[in-house]
Point group: C2
Chain length 347, copies 2
DNA sequence: CGGCGTTGTCGAATCGTTTCGGTGACATCT
DNA sequence: AGATGTCACCGAAACGATTCGACAACGCCG
């Protein structure tokens, strides 16, 4: 089959109408008589025409219907985190209103290949987290004059931002523990910076990941000198490792642990059980995120429920608004503190 | 700023060269003298030109650099499964060789919006799982004459397919249990069809999900009459529910359980513990996938290790090959049986 | 019956690149 | 010195659709 695909012009010719009319039949921008529409559709059918070429359409329209989502991590790593997953879901929802799809982009293109961020036909971009690495991507995107939204990260002047009240929220959990009488509290944080290896965080460490820094600050607002152990990622296994570190020294053992994510909290709980400690009787544990941790039952974490999907949806709507020429504003979501059965008065 | 973005023609004019030359400077398709190149680059810089418009380029080239990935599930659900996540990772890798990005597509577009599958500028499509629902998507894509690859699913004649030796692999695990002396075996399967609710699978049930059917067949090759409980999804919690069902009746209790995924197996193990059974002494449990189940330690599942990332990578390469005009062949990957500490001789 | 608002269709002008054949100019070989 | 190649660069023609103003034809009203 050497024959190339039929174009809308071919269809128009076969149907005996002008290309403009045929185009309108497919786009529905203008009224067309039923008779004509049918004729065009028939012609399309007989020619095997399956609709306008999206490439040509997007050139003419100046829109591709594609929103790029840029992650700093390895793609797989990004989806290991249920919060990000939920966020993606919301985002997909949000951009669906303008009929757009999500193009997955890695921050640093694998060696030797084109940076797709510069060559992809994006209408807009959403950056997830913005710690250093993403700055570069941000530069590329803004240079292209594309609307951009940053989720959970400081992007600098004039960039639309979707974020949480991380510090205030974490402070709530801390206050809760304080009110329960806890004084010796341990903190388990998310990664301190890209490439961070798990370990205790020195007091003079500079924390480049916004979320980690803010939540830690919130915890320290209440427990000024609480030691903090930084995990390498948000996972149960990392939490387990962190928990072991916290509970290693029986004398220095905390009576409560503030974890910066539910997954970490779940790991900490497991570490506690391992150490023969009962939760919440011997040690209270709080999480952050409010997700359903697979397999954690019967525990119900005391945690901060964040509107993860809403964050994504908001980003999607913001992007849609910007594309529609409206101005959108940054949004700061609020977490809801939820008491579960993993925190109790100090024994 | 009413001023529109500069085009490559503007840049060419400023640099005093023809548009074709300017184009070549950016694409690198032909040799250009250093002096000219520099002149063009300078002109671009002073005009704020950030490279060729991808939309126009893709029209002219006939390539957009975008590969669509179509899921049948809710986007979020897709990424809850570590296997899919790994697969995506490999896929991203595989298509990176042609500098393509991955466009996330849901099978059924949310109501009231354009089906992006038909309007997105795709070079190729990868369908994940192909059970009924996806058939429609498949029709759309093939009608558009786009190269398509199906991962884990029967797509019918002439469609390139990437799959596993599901049946043979599962049979290995079953044989292993048989060799250990087990006779009363329970099976926990993945979803039987889209929208399946957890429950025992009647003998006359038609199983439309390929993976589920094949693995079940493999298990029944060895244990012809083993009862099968179908989970609604691949998760620990579903496995837990299934396990409870299996262990509910002490008299009918199986001495071994074949789970169709590691996540399910993890849940079954938890259910066993809950029922006061010890694994593997009282009951053996095998999984499928060979992923690292977060928080399952110290158990190491006896399972079938599937090359999830390789599947994705293979799909990516297949797509790349087809786009290059070469012919690619279907691939069937082989799982590796790995004995862990969750299976033991029958007590 | 003439003016007028509707409705449906058409022409022509883009949208911004890339590509391909061609053309000088200049170096190399015999 | 003439023939032959190479190297850079240019012009013009696609790529396939959308859009917008113009324009007939038509029914309606006073």
């Amino acid at each position: 089959m050497n024959t190339r695909r039929p174009t809308i012009t071919d269809v128009a010719r076969t149907a005996g109408v002008s290309p403009s009319t045929a185009s309108v039949v497919f786009s529905g921008k203008t009224a067309v008589s039923d008779a004509t529409r049918q004729r065009v559709l028939d012609a399309a059918g007989s020619l095997g025409y399956t609709g306008p070429d999206p490439r040509a359409a997007s050139l003419r329209r100046g829109r591709s219907g594609i929103v790029g989502v840029v992650f700093e991590e390895h793609l797989g790593a990004a989806f290991l985190d249920p919060v990000k997953t939920l966020m993606m879901d919301g985002l997909a929802d949000g951009v669906a209103s303008i009929g757009a799809g999500l193009l997955l982009l890695r921050d640093q293109a694998p060696l030797g290949t084109e940076p797709t961020l510069t060559t992809a036909p994006l209408d807009a971009a959403v950056l997830v987290g913005c710690s250093g690495l993403l700055r570069e991507s941000l530069a590329v995107v803004t240079a292209r004059g594309i609307p951009v939204v940053v989720i959970e990260g400081d992007a600098g002047e004039g960039i639309l931002r979707i974020e949480l009240d991380n510090r205030e929220a974490q402070r709530q959990a801390a206050s809760h523990l304080r009110a329960l009488g806890h004084e010796k509290v341990g903190i388990v944080t998310l990664a301190v910076r890209a490439g961070w290896q798990r370990g205790w965080i020195p007091d003079d460490e500079t924390i480049t990941v916004d979320v980690t820094r803010e939540r830690l600050a919130g915890a320290r607002d209440v427990f000024r000198d609480a030691p903090a152990f930084g995990a390498a990622a948000s996972s149960i296994d990392e939490g387990l490792a962190a928990g072991r570190a916290l509970f290693a020294d029986a004398a220095a053992r905390p009576t409560a642990v503030l974890a910066q994510s539910d997954l970490l909290a779940a790991g900490v709980i497991r570490a506690a059980e391992e150490a023969g400690l009962s939760v919440p009787d011997d040690v209270s544990v709080t999480g952050f995120d409010g997700i359903v941790v697979d397999g954690l039952a019967p525990y119900e974490l005391t945690t901060l429920v964040q509107p993860a999907a809403d964050k994504g949806r908001a980003a999607g709507h913001a992007v849609a608004a910007m594309l529609a020429g409206e101005t959108a504003a940054s949004i700061r979501f609020t977490c809801v503190f939820r008491v579960g059965n993993t925190s109790a008065p100090r024994a």
